[in-house]
Amino acid sequence: MGFLDSILGKTRLPEAKTDRLFAISTAAVTMEANLGLLPDGQAGLCIKPMESTYYESARKEIEDLLKLSFQETGTLHAIQKDEYGYIWVVLTDPDFEDLVASIQMISQILIEQGFGTQLLAAVYRFRGEATVYWIYSFKLGSYYPFVPKSGKQRDTAMEFRLRSIMQSELPIERDMAKWYPMWGMPI
């Protein structure tokens, strides 16, 4: 948001940053080698809720886009609403490269269609000793780890370990106060 905009009180949400979204695809190799973590074949795109009247048309629009996009790749997709009223595009594909490419493509299309400021996060699930999520914040333009334990607890030690080891390959959010969790995701 520019200086003049803030003076004039024009609220503008920051544009979605997608340039570093791709980094996860190479990072997955290191994650498997050094941490024994494997991609779990699922990823999700979380989109901020809109006015309810707008929601149905938006949902339909996204649905059409997805159908068109996945005719060839065979990536399975589903659209869901979560308890916070956010829209989730859940993708299932055993090939991680395809999954990353799909997330990239959908977010790109959504930005072109004017949903850019509504894009909240892209989430990838990995499995190993525990389930590990890498959350990409479109606002921050960076990733951060999220390892949930039972009872809305986080395995912070594991999260720090992920940061230490993946730091050189993945753009990880430096400010840990912004590592907001996402509980009960549909992926």
Partner: protein, 291 residues
């Protein structure tokens, strides 16, 4: 048995600090000798006092902290954890004390490996989970392993000797005739400088010992991140638990998040290195464990 990996840079800095302290001490001894003073007696007294302090420090520290030695039947889990860590670190089992305080803290004391005590507060046992507590205990055991109590006592002794010497130097004018106020100012400035220098050096040495203990804890547990997590929790920082969707939601509240404190000048005078520096060091250990 784990062989201690050597951190050359850290060793060099420690050695340099100790050397500088010794040089400081020796320089003043030289001045003393050239002045032909009987300050030796004062030093013997000081030495005796420090020796006394060294032998009774564990009891002094424990009683000043309100720590109580607990038996194996009183705290079986704590004893089990410490004895397992001692087996890895090749240390004799220390005594274990518990401090009845809600502040999260832990410390080690004792003049040598056989007379060591590891103390933890009730607060730290509540706040940390098992693996984090283990990392903290390993940190304290490394202090014992590295004989930090002895190193710091010697360093403090050397600096106190330097201070005594400065205060009692004949040209400082204690009980003697003075002819000009100018030289007094100079000497006062010098003695102040000595005090500040030795103080900073000791604090620096202490910080290096902390880094070394962090490193030891990382090696003993094999999981540097557990210590990082523990340090963060002890410092009061928590990774948020509030859901991103709630924070980013249409009706989002203002969140006041405590930032990681940064300070630069204060670092010179602190016995513990800043959290960020410790975490950074632990991260590079984590990376080296993988590669």
């Amino acid at each position: 048995m784990i062989r201690w990996k050597v951190d050359r840079g850290l060793e060099a800095r420690m050695l340099l600090t100790m050397l500088l302290l010794a040089v400081l001490y020796l320089a003043f001894l030289a001045i003393l000798v050239s002045q032909g003073v009987d300050n030796i007696i004062i030093i013997i007294f000081a030495g005796g006092f420090v020796l006394l302090q060294y032998y009774f420090s564990d009891k002094m520290i424990l009683s000043s902290m309100g720590a109580r030695i607990v038996s194996e039947s009183e705290a079986p889990e704590l004893h089990q954890t410490v004895s397992r860590l001692c087996a890895i670190a090749d240390l004799p089992m220390p005594r274990i004390a518990i401090v009845n305080s809600s502040m999260p803290n832990a410390f080690a004391t004792g003049r040598n490996q056989k007379n060591a005590v590891v103390a933890v507060t009730k607060g730290i046992m509540q706040k940390l989970d098992q693996s984090e507590l283990e990392a903290v205990l390993a940190h304290e055991l490394t202090h014992i392993k590295n004989r930090d109590m002895m190193v710091m006592t010697i360093a403090t002794f050397l600096s106190s000797v330097a201070q005594i010497l400065v205060r009692n130097l004949p040209f400082m004018g204690r009980g003697r005739d003075r002819d000009s106020g100018g030289s007094f100012v100079v000497i006062f400035a010098v003695s102040l400088l000595v005090w500040i220098l030795s103080f900073i050096l000791i604090q620096a040495l202490s910080r290096y010992r902390e880094f070394a203990a962090d490193r030891g804890a990382a090696i003993i547990t094999g999981q540097p991140s557990n210590l990082v997590s523990a340090l963060m929790k002890i410092s009061g920082f928590r990774v948020p638990t509030e859901d991103l969707r709630r924070v980013e939601g249409p009706v989002s509240a203002l969140f006041i998040v405590p930032p990681l404190t940064r300070s630069s000048i204060m670092n010179l005078f602190s016995t513990h290195p800043p959290l960020e520096a410790r975490i950074k060091a632990l991260q590079s250990i984590e990376q080296s464990l993988v590669s």
